[in-house]
Amino acid sequence: MNAAALAASTRSAVLQWPGWKRLPRDSRDTLFLLAVIAWTVLPHASHLPAWSLWLTAAVLLWRARLALVNGPLPGRWVLVAVLIGAIGLTFWSYRTLLGKEPGVTLAVALMALKTLELRARRDAFVVFFLAFFIILTHFLYSQSMLVAIAMLVSVWGLLTALVLAHMPVGKPGLTLAGGLAARTALLGAPVMVLLFVLFPRIGPLWGVPQDGISKTGLSNTMKMGSMAEVARDDGVAMRIRFDGQAPAQPQMYFRGPVLTRFDGVEWAPVGLSFAPQSLPARAPALVTRGEPLGYEVTLEPLRLASVPLLEATTDVFPVEGYRLVPRDDLQWLADKPVLERLRFKAIASTSFVLGAPRRLGELQESLELPDGFNPRTLAWAREFRNAHKGASATRLANELLQHIRSGGFSYTLAPGNYGRDAVDEFWLDRKEGFCEHFAAAFVVVLRAAGVPARIVTGYQGTDLLPVDGYYVVRQSSAHAWAEFWQTGTGWVRADPTGAVAPDRIGRSSRLAPLPGFVAGTLDAMNPQLFADLRRAWEAINNRWNQSVLNYSRGHQLDVLKQIGFDAPTWEDLALLLVGTLICLSIAGALWAWLDRHRVDPWARQLARIRDALRALGIAAAPHEPPRTLALRVRERLGGAGERLALLLEALEARRYGRDAARRPDPSMTHEFTSEAHRLRTVAPR
């Protein structure tokens, strides 16, 4: 490289920002598209591996620089090399190229690299279509309103870039193109609503990979510390609307998976395998007291077959697409994992007794403890039993609760890590933990003392104040409690967490971790305002969930019923959709056919005037403007035609003058023809 070329390259390397308005059109359009792409990818930042973010940012910045200095795009081999690198890194990150996360990572890398190849219009289209696809992938992670708004902005930006690409003349403003894009989308909104309402919701066409959808909240198993994760999730698990008076907060136990098996580390339910045919359809030996309470549940997709319902739910109204049945342990199971938001009605009695075991070995299973774990706790339990010889299970449990109350236990969400003999460590040494530690230790001690016991997981309590009549159950309300067997009565609930932290039960957001900085500041400054804002947001969000995200086949069939179908099926839905589309198409075709014969109203007016003039014997050619015709009228008719000539001049002014009108004046035409008619009858030629 010689000195001059070197100097030139360093000169071009110094970026000078000429100002947005002064950018050449190509550079401006490219920068705009890059900004839209960055905005589209940004929400993925929390899911993508770090290298992918750096690569995307580097490629976009490189492309922006090229756009600014008008530099040449890199050769194809560079792109191929980077792409192969990206594929290799993806494989290295995930050990596979299939599935959601690797797919998203690859799509983002592809789109970023494609921006380096924006040569022809075809390349631009590839970027647009990849971007639309990436927008969809955001919804796999979250369908919240914020994500929806962010992605609406993305779609608008992409459509604007598309419109810009098809305005080849001059330098059209971004606002103009943005307005045109918004107009296109707004005019398309009725089509969107029609399709959204009527397009039949059918089940998944093929199996969704297990990692397909993010998963927080309850799971089928419990390990020490696993629930702390859930506690940090302020998301909504379900919303409840009671038909009558809501039960008191301490009574709102939502029963999820019942965990009986303990292998020393992990608690698991008994024989919970998905085999819908073998589900026991018989009801548990349940005796309820008091008035049954009807309620409506809007259940967020928990990705579990277990459906947490108010204790003790006796009946569930049929749910479209699912079959819900109660197990022996009063846990409600769906015949397949619930992957969509469900809304259904159920009936519960908060006052109940779960009586005699129906299954052989149920009590035996609830006594088993793994060998070689927690020896000191087992020894402690034997001593405890010996100290209370002949006491009933209830008495033992109460003694234990008393021990927890007075034994120096404390409640904390951050107890640190526990080792192999976690119960030993918790029960005898550190004595700090949260619901799962207390429940697990309680059950282990009871079992060791010869009382059948098990862990129940689920949710406890709701937000104190209902929003729009809905009580919100959050993931942070996830809870674990215990049940023990009292001979002669049945399973009895005991909540050891309540013994150490009484306000933990019946208080809203009990597992709440420390609030974030902004929320904390706001909360400190004006707690009332913060609470109001939060509630308003919840209300809007609830509307969003109920009307958009929760819209399912059931709602579609409701819509059909409202418009007069007796027993609608999804075939009716499809027929209605196709019928509506056909009607709209026919209407469009009809309009087009009518429009074929449409004539410019000015031309129609002039044609009638020409006919009137011809009847008076004055030649008028189609190309002649009214001014020329006025001259000819004066020439031929003299003073008699003055009125016609004036009318023609007025017409000329109306069409071409300073304050030209958009449409001709029909009364003017009428006046002209009647005057021409009068002249013809007065002085026939």
């Binding site: 219009r121 075809r122 289209f125 279509f129 639309f132 696809f133 927008i135 969809l136 919804f139 796999l140 369908q143 994500v147 929806a148 992605m151 779609v155 459509l159 598309l162 419109v163 690409a165 098809h166 305005m167 080849p168 003349v169 001059g170 059209p172 045109l180 894009a181 296109t184 989308a185 005019l187 398309g188 909104a189 009725p190 089509v191 969107m192 609503v193 399709l195 959204f196 397009f199 919701r201 059918i202 089940g203 998944p204 066409l205 093929w206 969704v208 959808i213 992957l339 969509e340 958009v548 995200l549 929760n550 819209y551 087009a592 056919w593 429009d595 074929r596 449409r598 410019d600 000015w602």
Partner: protein
Amino acid sequence: MSVSAVLTAPWNVRARVRRWLTARLPRSDSQLLTQANVYILPTRAGWMFALTLIVLLLASINYQLNLGYLLTFLLAGSGVVSMHITHGTLRGLTLHLRPVAPAFAGSAAVLDIVLSSPTSTRFGIGLRLLEAPVATLAWTNVPAGGQATAHVSYVPGRRGLHDVPTLTAETRFPLGLFRAWTVWRPVARVLVYPQVEADAPALPAARPVSGAALQARRSVGGEIEGVRAYRRGDPLKLIAWKKAAQALATGAELVSRDTSTSARQELWLEWQACARLGPEERLSRLAAWTLAADRADADYGLRLPGAEIEPGDGDAQRARCLEALALWR
């Protein structure tokens, strides 16, 4: 395969059908675009868009994403609307061809097309010859209730009086998913002069007019001395600018050269002078000489077999001679 090859290949059924369809169109210099003559089809990008929509729909169904449905249907709705907007961009537009100036074979002929929109603003309308490649599109926007001009140029191959080639106007605005186009056969004809011979030999010698009383007086600088006062209508090149500048400085009028003094020599451009050349080459050379003589400001005449144009000068003479060359057969 070049455009002309497509045209001439007898087995190319598509081209034949297209020519047959085109030939059925009525000719007119002014065409109002309506439902009847605006056609629309999806572009390749439009098909790609449809494929994208199907993929998005499948993903939404499989993952039960209501927002995915919304996205898919929003894009589908925008696509449908864009079809109407694309069609509406051409519909209602009036195309008008201005009188076409004569052109030389082998160099560009320019068609001035006026587009007028009685209603809304139209963006991104491209015009080209029907047979020309897409890259030759001349783009224009038409303001609301106004007019815009587009220049479509093409290179006529042969001299003579030809029909203006079939034109097409198209648009992909706003999203590029659909292409609306119209085919327009203007009724106007364009006069094509013979191709000008490059590096033609020098003009034949001019001969003094026999019996002329006066010789043109020429000064040392080669400038004609005979001047007279400027008369309205004198062409610009007749004005003697040096003298005019002096005259204007002294407050007098402009002065023009007096051509009557220089009209004593005349130049004949003759068919016979171009020996050993084919007829078209001769016409090319005569065209080049015509231009050279016109530039030299000489009086010149043209002799072709069966046609003779009396000596003269000026634009009219030039046009007369070139027309004769164009139409000679």
